[in-house]
């Protein structure tokens, strides 16, 4: 089903935010919409977004490639993205990230066997005063989890894996 069929009101609202002769501006919000169902942008959606934005499919694909929050491949249903940038690392984020990976039995960047959770290390998320912290990205969007402990992550993962 196309984006227009699935989310007609949202597509219209997105296009209305930009000047009628600059539809290309809608590419980023439309890609978030395209990613909603499966947490990655399927090839068919690239073509449809290109038509909606009046640009070439390769231009849409290059946007997916450039910006880190879009994906062209499927990974875990939930991406746990742990900040390991300098300020968080000064407060133990690297050790925290290693402990989370060990708990899940995956390498950094890996996905659990049930396909539910991928763990990734990411750059500063503007929450450095509340390290260790991570965000969870899935099709529905992004949520922040701050002042975390291994225990709180375990509880969260258990919840995500039963969903």
């Amino acid at each position: 089903m196309s984006l227009l069929q699935k989310y007609p009101d949202e597509v219209a609202a997105i296009l209305a935010r930009y000047p009628a002769d600059n539809k290309r501006s809608a590419v980023m919000p439309l890609l978030y919409l395209a990613q909603r169902a499966e947490n990655y942008v399927p090839a068919a959606a690239i073509d449809e977004v290109a038509v909606l934005c009046e640009i070439a499919p390769t231009q849409v694909a290059s946007i997916v490639g450039f910006y880190t929050l879009y994906y062209d491949k499927q990974a875990g249903r939930h991406r746990i993205q742990i900040c390991t940038d300098l300020p968080c690392a000064l407060r133990g984020a690297d050790e925290f990230a290693a402990a989370v990976c060990a708990h899940l039995g995956v390498e950094m960047g890996g996905t659990t066997a049930d396909g539910k959770v991928t763990v990734e290390g990411v750059m500063c998320l503007a929450a450095c005063d509340r390290a260790p912290m991570f965000q969870v990205q899935n099709g529905a969007g992004l949520t922040f989890h701050e002042n975390q402990t291994l225990e709180s992550v375990k509880a969260l993962v258990a919840k995500l894996q039963t969903e």
């Binding site: 290309r24 450039f66 750059m123 922040f144």
Partner: protein, 436 residues
């Protein structure tokens, strides 16, 4: 008692100003009403000029002066820069979460001054939850007649839209940000032309940081003279300082420009965790040179000029503190990985140089490094410095160059150990564990 201009939600009785009714009850939108119903755009620009307000996004450029550069073409746009991606920065987020209407009011006043009828707020993609709340708050302003056609019964019309980025630090650079709103790769443009002449869709555009905009309603409400009673002559007002790393109480501190590092760190933020000694300070996130925590540095006033005189930058005041246990070659490795990841790839020195620097610095950490490698590292920084299209290239070298200069022993320890026991990784100071 420190004056709260931007973080007003921290004042007793104002905790709920993230709700429109409470914000209005505290005088919110009076400034906007005054501006739209009784001031000319030029008068607003003159007022902001007189206040001496300087941009809080990093460069400290005078805001009113920037507005006066707009070319005489229409339509014009105003864009709020809420990309906030510098490591160690988390102030715009607190402003938008806890005092969102003051930020929006500032954006709306700026739009009136620029005679723009459309404004965009560009948020980093990670601020997803925040953007959803701001969408709802903007809808409330429409319902209240403060946004939309014929605002408050005047001829003025204004729409505000949020635009979410998708994880690219470079989109904080204003021209890359505009490219991104246009639906393109976030890569900086050659300047000139500047956004005031050719910005969004080629039209005259004002780009201001979130915190800059949040300063505007109080300036309109209380006057330029009042504003100048805060801070210093050349850096008026207050600044939200983001403290992170090995500080006892990490967080945002709104203080008048001109208090010293020492007053901020030891007076307000509880000093260094565990009572350890402070070794070094990154005053502007990953982007500006490291400062050794000497008495001279600690007694330096926090203003754009004073920190620049030390050979670094105040920037957006993302102050990262590092105690005596930290190996500064490890810090350089961390910042360099950040910039390698965030280089937009448009110019070769930045794209390739950050790649080579991470390679060498990773080897330093692994202990397999020789003196010649450090010379090569230094050489690579010179191949990048001053040779790039946008400031990110220079940013990428600053922690490397300054740590090599100020803390050579932190590098040499890896060389020495590597030479003596080639098979074993060098011992290095371990990064402190989090306190629970």
């Amino acid at each position: 008692m420190i004056e709260h201009v931007v973080l007003r939600h921290r004042l007793p009785g104002l905790e709920n100003i993230n709700q429109l009714a409470a914000y209005q009850a505290s005088g919110g939108f009076d400034a906007y009403r005054t501006v739209v119903t009784s001031m000319t755009p030029q008068a607003v620009i003159d007022l902001i000029k007189a206040s001496g307000l300087r941009g809080r996004g990093g460069a400290g450029f005078p805001t009113g002066v920037k507005w006066s550069f707009l070319s005489n073409r229409f339509p014009r746009y105003v864009v709020a820069n809420s990309d906030e991606s510098e490591p160690g920065t988390f102030k715009d987020r607190e402003i938008m979460e806890r005092n969102p209407f003051q930020f929006l009011e500032g954006l709306m006043i700026a739009s009136y001054a620029a005679q723009a009828s459309t404004a965009y707020n560009y948020l980093r993609g990670e601020f997803w939850e925040l953007a959803a709340r701001l969408d709802a708050q903007i809808a409330e302003l429409h319902a209240a007649g403060l946004l939309g056609k014929n605002v408050l019964g005047t001829q003025y019309s204004l729409a505000v839209h949020n635009h979410l980025g998708a994880g690219a630090y470079i989109c904080g650079e204003e021209s890359a940000l505009l490219e991104s709103i246009e639906g393109k790769l976030g890569q900086p443009r050659l300047k000139p032309p500047f956004p005031a002449d050719r910005g969004l869709y080629g039209q005259p555009t004002v780009v201001n940081n979130t915190e800059t905009l949040a300063n505007i309603p109080p300036i309109v409400a209380r006057g330029a003279q009042w504003y100048r009673t805060l801070g210093t002559e050349s850096s008026p007002g207050t600044k939200v300082m983001c403290l992170s790393g090995h500080v006892a109480n990490a967080g945002n501190y709104e203080v008048p420009f001109g208090i010293t590092f020492r007053e901020l760190i030891y007076g307000l933020a509880g000093g260094i965790r565990g009572g350890r000694a402070l070794k070094a300070i990154l005053p502007s996130g990953a982007s500006a040179p490291i400062l050794a925590a000497t008495d001279k540095v600690l007694d330096t006033r926090l203003t754009y000029e004073d920190v620049a005189a030390l050979g670094s930058q105040l920037g957006s005041a993302s102050i990262i503190l590092m105690d005596e246990t930290v190996d500064m070659s490890w810090v350089a490795m961390k910042t360099t990985h950040f910039f390698k990841h965030e280089s937009c790839g448009k110019c070769t020195p930045c794209r390739e140089g950050t790649y080579w620097m991470t390679h060498i610095l990773d080897r330093v950490q692994a202990g397999g490094v020789q003196a010649a490698d450090l010379a090569l590292l230094s050489d690579v920084t010179q191949q990048i410095g001053g040779k790039c299209l946008c400031p990110l290239g220079d940013f990428a070298t600053s922690a490397v160059v300054s740590s090599l200069k100020l803390f050579p022993a932190d590098y040499e320890q890896h060389v020495a150990v590597a030479a003596a026991v080639p098979a074993k990784p060098a011992a290095r100071a371990k990064v402190a564990q989090p306190v629970s």
